[in-house]
Symmetry: C2
Subunit: 389 residues, 2 copies
């Protein structure tokens, strides 16, 4: 299907050809394993290539090169942040705070830690998915070691006020981790400005390679590694360095521009506008402006998200739903539920994620198609009659 | 340096161009995230591509497709094997057995577990690096949950009798894990024949991509995941699937042939023969025949390994040494020490790893060069006079 169009997560896993070009010489020519300064020249060159990629990524976050470690992806990064700080913390420092709408790497790790006897506070969010900084302030206690609140939500795109959150954490001497998997390079992040100690970010959301992620670790942050092996990545993440991945990651980040992010926001706004114009009974999930430029999430009431996904697929569009079967979770989207939605709203929610490779004609066509799909599905819907109002 | 020749680990991290060709369409065309059967068609296709790679790798081990999980590499695989079984084991099942010459992922994980209160027995090896199955039998107690003994050693290439080891483990109802990072595809492995419950293997040792590994998990093996996130890989390893990596991994494995392994063994034997002929005072480390076809490890007495590495590098050859600074470990090679070597023997040890891209002329040239290098270094050596005998 040559005109098949991705308007979901898969849109960004398309590798940019320029990233592949950057990785090629590392795959085929400069492929030596990174050695110490006592190694052979080609291994020392490889270490320099790795460290250049590190420095390049650090610069995007206004961090120092040695504050970036490479991991296998954002899941591992967030696990190192949470497990690593809790493991390294003093005995009476056994409480963490997360938002209730974190993505699985943070949320499920928090649940694991809870089972191991760590206290966990899950902060509620408002109707837009925003954490109230006052609630955070109240939740921090003497035992609190870490606050982990995402920068942008994985489903509804809501941005948190991580500057305010970071300030509160610093004021109370508590570590602050933010999962920036979906916001990295799409929304500016300055580690000093937001007072972050740990930031999760990844290549797979910016047309970079899969299988590589990053973790910002502020100088002086006490962290244990979460599994054992060699001494790589400042002795924080073992395993032979994925240098082609690191180089591709850095290249992918360098390809994102302010203009591109502005274009994505224009396209995203157009999509929301068209859908709200063409389709009755829809709810925009998340905040209208405080959201990722590339994200829209809309509930189509009285329709099953899986049915929309299926019918849009037949019309050549990939979209995602927060419905249970689709997401391989056993529950309906915990995010939609947390912002006050019910099962019906969660099941009818569709997430659109736009990418470098989308254009306006696709957006116009997608809005057109989804209005037809929803109209047809509502005719045969078992989910009751039009809502009042 | 166009004729630069790798005779160490870096030799195998050169990606085979055919692997890159296999990954390209996944990078650029069939790049959808794998979805469940309730997802869109392109995501279902991606899942099929992933599962084909899984099945292809499984076949090489005579395993079932669903017995293979993808990880970020052999370090993570071994950690899942050790930590995952201990975590899932019954309360009174808190003892593991490893060999003393395991690579860092197993060795350091064993040490971590020991600090957490798990009993660990480190089995001694003989002068060739072989575990005595009788010693293993004696070491297994009622509390033993897992035996982890490598298939082939990372430095000296010695192969263990994993069939005998697996039989003992099965007889005692103890899980058996083997780290086959360096032997996968180079020495045949049949999971049923060796009674393995868990096998670590990786793509980075067979001209495949870095950042992806595999873990064989025999059906019915009770295992906990070691970190939290999504439900991928049969809920054993979270994180967005690295499908290009998996496809490249499978392709890399399929490119290894019996003929190639025979060729490597011939080259390796030729190298040992030439070095023993040209250079006095050398010791072959490991077993003369029960070793990886691609591995040779030779101690050049009265010379520092780092000096050999440096001088061979200037002559266009990459070789590795088990010396401390080179390996970024703080100690001299624990493997050479364990087979009865002293610091002098460890410091003068050079590991040669041959690959698909080496040929006989390189071997002849390398032997020639190393004989000159060693001769020169010995003239200026501070390490004493020629040995008696």
């Amino acid at each position: 299907m040559e005109s098949y169009c991705y308007l979901d997560n898969s849109a960004v896993t398309r590798l940019d050809e320029r990233v592949l070009e950057a990785m090629k010489p590392i795959f085929l020519e400069q492929y030596a394993v990174a050695t110490s300064q006592f190694g052979y020249s080609m291994g020392i060159d490889s270490r320099e290539i790795l460290d250049e990629a590190r420095a390049s990524l650090a610069a995007h976050l206004k961090a120092e090169p040695e504050e970036i470690i490479f991991t296998s992806g954002s899941t591992e990064s967030s696990n190192i942040a949470l497990r690593g700080t809790v493991k390294a913390s003093r005995k009476n420092h056994k409480h963490i705070i997360v938002s209730g709408i974190e993505d699985f790497p943070v949320l499920h790790t928090a649940r694991d830690l809870e089972r191991d006897g760590i206290g966990v506070t899950y902060l509620e969010v408002d109707e837009y998915g925003r954490v109230n900084p006052d609630r955070l302030r109240e939740a921090i206690g003497d035992e609190t070691v870490l606050v982990s609140i995402q920068h942008a939500n994985q489903e509804i795109g809501t941005l948190q006020d991580i500057r305010a959150i970071g300030e509160i954490c610093r004021g109370r001497g508590v570590l602050f981790h933010t999962d920036a998997t979906h916001s990295f390079m799409r929304v500016p992040i300055d580690v000093k400005d937001i007072n972050a100690d740990l930031i999760t970010f990844s290549a797979h959301t910016i047309h970079g390679p899969r299988g590589i992620g990053g973790l910002f670790v502020k100088k002086g942050t006490v962290l244990s590694k979460i599994y054992g092996g060699g001494f790589q990545e400042f002795d924080l993440r073992p395993g032979i360095e994925n240098i082609p991945g690191a180089v591709g990651f850095a290249r992918a980040a360098s390809l994102v521009t302010i203009e591109e992010n502005e274009k994505l926001m224009v396209l995203r706004n157009r999509l929301i506008e068209l859908v709200e114009e063409k389709v009755p009974e829809v709810t925009l999930n998340g905040h209208r402006t405080l959201r990722l430029p590339q994200n829209a999430n809309i509930t189509f009431h009285r329709v099953e998200g899986e049915s929309i996904t299926l019918h849009m697929d037949m019309r050549g569009f990939a979209v995602s739903t927060g419905s249970a079967c689709f997401s391989r979770s056993l529950e309906a989207s915990h995010v939609i539920m947390a912002i006050g939605g019910d099962h019906e709203r969660a099941h009818g929610s569709i997430r659109f994620s736009l990418s470098r490779f989308n254009d306006e004609s696709q957006i116009v066509r997608a809005a057109e198609e989804i209005s037809h799909v929803v109209e047809q599905l509502r005719v045969i819907s078992p989910l009751g009659h039009p809502r009042d109002g």
